[in-house]
């Protein structure tokens, strides 16, 4: 008796988890749960506080923000309710598969046999053809018309009647399971990625070498921020030797490790250097054509790989991949070098590197130039005044003051992108070749050991789509009966999907039998 209730209980639970109603309900809930994360800006309390202040007023805004954070809306796709729905969906998917798969497998594996007369008559798709001749000849006719269409005929003789039958596409019944399995594979890959992988970023200035990446952390206090900065500087000052870092800081390696974790600093296990970063523009426009970073991987003091990465073309070393993601201007020009090619009117030319404020002379003449000002994006306003229109190096320009015999002669802007500005009235040219060390390249850095599971899931899903939506399990029967010098062929067929298309196919086969 007790056992009965138990069985009933588990049966009820099983039924609940394997029902399509649950699938539809969970999917609807999942859809609704995905929406808030697209509307509420994720992971930025400050912006949401501003917005809330506008909506509910200053007094209530912090409280409302706390409620929103508490409910996980600022990290909606990792919140407990989202994860619960995801788990519910996955278990529903798994249990549905276990529940339904045996029947499907039976339908695939059960041998096909001839139909008895009454079943044949009740088939919704059927046709009758009478032809002159004997059964053997007619059999040839039927098998000829089905040949080359994927039907392999079996036959069975009952008294004077010949039954021919065939099926194709029976494995298409697995399509839905393949799609479901692929979803589970993708989710598994996502889980592996989030547990064993990492995602971080790195703003790497031109000419610098880093051996760590920075990951997202919780909110840090000012004090913690300062300590993080100090640790980062220490790491780079000893070129990523972590034994020395703990020595310099005077803390245990274990302590250092926990601090690194707290501050989202992740050692790469090697170093990476940005040799150069450049943005290419289309013609004279400000429309970027390509972002390029020249990177070098350094392991134990040796250069291992050099590669110029672009958007859509990353660098991978040791399972860690560097993606071109953003770029920007360094706050100061302290480490920046102006690369100028100076050519006098007599044809003597030299290329040299200068710091901001440096003086240079034009070879073979008494003229000198001083680098007096710099603009990353020089524009001219309506009244003809120069101004900087962007915070990125869209149109780098350097203002040079020219001096002859200690006296100011003239000064002018020299623009990297406009060769006409390089020419001086005396026939000398000062070409602004590059400003090196003024920009940083923004790199996404990550390792995702789950990626191949996800890709395998994608591939499997594509196969599943074809099986589930573009193939169907089709069966054909033909009964051949001799009657007064005539053979009556009764043909029938079924398909588990897309009946309209199957009917058309059936009609074609019938027609080809009829016309021989």
């Amino acid at each position: 008796m007790k056992e009965d209730i138990f069985t009933k209980g588990t049966n009820a639970i099983w039924k609940f988890f394997s029902s399509v109603t649950l699938t539809v309900t969970t999917l609807i809930l999942f859809v609704l749960a995905s929406i808030p994360g697209t509307i509420i800006e994720q992971g930025s309390p400050e912006k949401n506080l501003q917005l809330l202040t506008k909506v509910v007023g200053e007094g209530f805004a912090p409280k409302a923000l706390n409620i929103i954070i508490g409910l996980g809306f600022l990290d909606a796709y990792h919140s407990w309710w989202f994860v619960v729905l995801l788990l519910l969906l996955t278990s529903n998917l798994t249990i549905c598969t276990i529940d339904r798969f045996p029947n499907t497998w039976k339908a695939i594996k059960s041998p096909m046999g001839p139909l008895d007369d009454s079943s044949l008559i009740n088939m919704p798709i059927k046709a009758e053809i009478r032809v002159k001749g004997n059964i053997e000849k007619t059999k040839e006719l039927v098998s000829k018309s089905l040949k080359g269409h994927g039907y392999n005929l079996s036959e069975k003789r009952v008294d004077k009647t010949l039954h021919l039958y065939s099926q194709k596409g029976k494995y298409s019944r697995l399509g839905v399971y393949v799609v479901h399995a692929s979803i589970i594979l993708v989710l598994t890959g996502a889980m592996i990625g989030s547990i064993f992988g990492f995602k971080g970023f790195l703003n790497l200035p031109e000419g610098e070498t880093y051996s760590v990446v920075i990951m997202k952390t919780g909110l840090l206090t000012q004090e913690e921020e300062n300590e993080r900065e100090y640790i980062l500087n220490t790491i780079e000052s000893v070129s990523g030797d972590f034994v020395r870092v703990s020595q310099v800081m005077g803390i245990e390696p274990a302590m250092l490790k926990s601090k690194l974790k707290r501050y989202g600093i992740r050692p790469l296990g090697f170093s990476i250097r940005c040799d150069d970063f450049e943005v290419d523009f289309y013609g004279n426009s400000d429309m970027p054509k390509e972002y390029k970073s020249w990177l070098t991987v350094i392991k134990e003091g040796k250069e291992v790989i050099k590669k110029a990465i672009k958007v859509n073309d990353p660098l991978t070393y040791n399972g860690i991949t560097f993606y071109q993601s953003s770029y920007g201007l360094m706050p100061s020009l302290r480490h920046a070098k102006f690369v100028l090619n100076i050519k006098s009117n007599s044809g003597v030319s030299e290329t040299k590197h200068f710091n901001f404020g440096d003086k240079f002379s034009i070879p073979g003449t008494g003229m000198e130039g001083v680098i007096g000002d710099f603009s990353p994006a020089l524009g001219i306003d309506e009244s003809g005044r120069a101004f900087t229109y962007a915070e990125t190096m869209n149109n780098p320009a350097v203002l040079i003051e020219f001096i002859e015999k200690g006296k100011h002669k003239y000064s002018g802007w020299i623009l990297k992108r406009y060769p006409t500005t390089w020419k001086l009235p005396e026939g000398h040219t000062v070409e602004f070749k590059d400003l090196w060390g003024a920009q940083y390249t923004g790199l996404q850095v990550g390792r995702d050991p789950g990626l191949w599971f996800v890709y395998a899931g994608f591939a499997l899903m594509s196969v599943g789509f074809v099986l589930a939506f573009f193939r169907s399990h089709k069966k054909l029967w033909a009964r051949l009966k001799e009657e007064k010098g005539e053979v009556i062929i009764t043909m029938a067929g079924t398909a588990n999907k897309n009946r309209f298309a199957f009917e058309r196919e059936f009609e074609k086969r019938v027609k080809s039998v009829r016309e021989g």
């Binding site: 999917l27 999942f30 796709y77 289309y282 993606y323 899903m461 789509f465």
Partner: protein, 368 residues
């Protein structure tokens, strides 16, 4: 001749076809139907030519001197901004429609499908979005671009078709004015009609009468009607809109009588709705989500980042998954499933335009 002449020709043809198909529905003259089909085919051919021409015109502008010929050709495909994607959308809708008209030998769908193309073309003209061929930005320079975009739009077109037949299904099956399904279809059709009319009025007042220069939709849409500076006109517009909704609700059942004369069975409508989705769902899954994911992994280092566009694409896909599952459930076959199909398309529109206009994120290429 440049591509823009062909585009204008096709646009004119589609507008005429829309009027033609609706007239055919009302007057039931076979001649009108044949003419509408002929105009649609003409429009489709000119648009195809226009797209090919634009592709050729794009080649020198979009190409950087790198890569093999194949990837150069792929990169110069004219499907990389909002204008080009909307053109591709109308092209795929009309193509799918022509296939259906040919296969089912029935022209009555035309009156329900061509207005979707019409509304898109009006939207393009009204918003004055840039029609220039722009060079490719670095993130878009990938061989995945063309597969991702084309497959997504084939799916969008099939979803548009399923929406049309779903609404026709509801027209034919729900005729009681107090029935939820009846209210649903009359208000959906009403909203489409109101938006179409309001945009046409915007177009006429701002484009034709004042010839104002190109501006953005954000400051433009519905300015002639609902958002008019004059409160009187604005209130009038709301009253007229409510009137349209009321009239549709009051007399919508008459549409059923019109459709009845075309001898389309509700099973055929259900079948087309299902089949369009059965094509669109896997195509969108493959082209939109899978190809998009692989591309994102290459470009941004992560195949999924819950960016609003991605999330809404997933929502779209899941809503159609709900439809496919609901159809096998007892009691959901028929009207309920068809309602999900039409909701699916409303979400497609939001994913496509609403996300670009209202929410920010990584997919900012589609901005106006």
């Amino acid at each position: 001749m440049t591509s823009s002449i062909f585009f204008s020709l096709s646009e004119l043809a589609y507008m005429m076809a829309m009027v033609g198909y609706i007239a055919y529905l009302v007057f039931k003259r076979k001649g009108i139907g044949v003419a509408a089909s002929a105009i649609t085919i003409f429009g489709f051919s000119t648009q195809t030519m226009a797209i090919i021409k634009r592709w050729i015109e794009s080649y020198p502008i979009k190409i950087v001197n790198e890569g093999d010929l194949l990837s150069k050709l792929l990169h110069s495909a004219p499907f990389s901004n909002l204008y080009e994607s909307l053109i591709l959308f109308t092209w795929t809708i009309i193509l799918s429609y022509l296939i259906i008209e040919f296969r089912y030998k029935n022209r009555s769908f035309g009156a329900f499908v061509t207005p979707i193309a019409g509304i898109v073309l009006l939207f393009i003209d009204l918003t004055g979005m840039s029609k220039d061929i722009q060079p490719l930005m670095p993130a878009l320079r990938s061989n995945w671009l063309i597969a991702h975009v084309i497959l997504s739009f084939i799916a969008y077109a099939t979803f548009a078709i399923s929406f049309s037949t779903a609404i026709m299904y509801l027209i034919m099956t729900a005729e009681k004015r107090n029935e939820g399904f009846y209210i649903f279809w009359t208000s959906s059709v009403g909203l489409f009609l109101i938006v179409l009319i309001a945009m046409a009025i915007d177009f006429m007042t701002f484009r034709v009468a004042f010839r104002t220069p190109e501006t953005f939709i954000k400051s433009y849409l519905f300015r002639a009607t609902f958002l008019n500076q004059s409160t009187g006109i604005s209130i009038m517009s709301w009253i007229v809109a409510s009137g349209v909704l009321f009239l549709l609700w009051r007399f919508g059942y008459l549409l059923k009588r019109v459709l009845d004369t075309f001898s389309i069975s509700i099973d055929t409508l259900d079948d087309i709705t299902y089949k369009s989705i059965a094509v669109g769902f896997p195509v969108f899954g493959l082209g939109g989500l899978i190809f998009g994911g692989v591309w994102a992994a290459q470009a941004w280092g992560t195949y999924w980042s819950w960016d609003p566009k991605e999330t809404w694409s997933l929502i779209t896909w899941l809503v159609y998954a709900i439809y496919l599952h609901a159809r096998v459930m007892r009691g959901w076959k028929g009207k309920k499933a068809v309602v999900i199909a039409s909701v699916g398309f409303l979400i497609v529109i939001f994913t496509y335009l609403g996300v670009n206009l209202l929410l920010s994120g990584l997919h900012a290429y589609g901005e106006l």
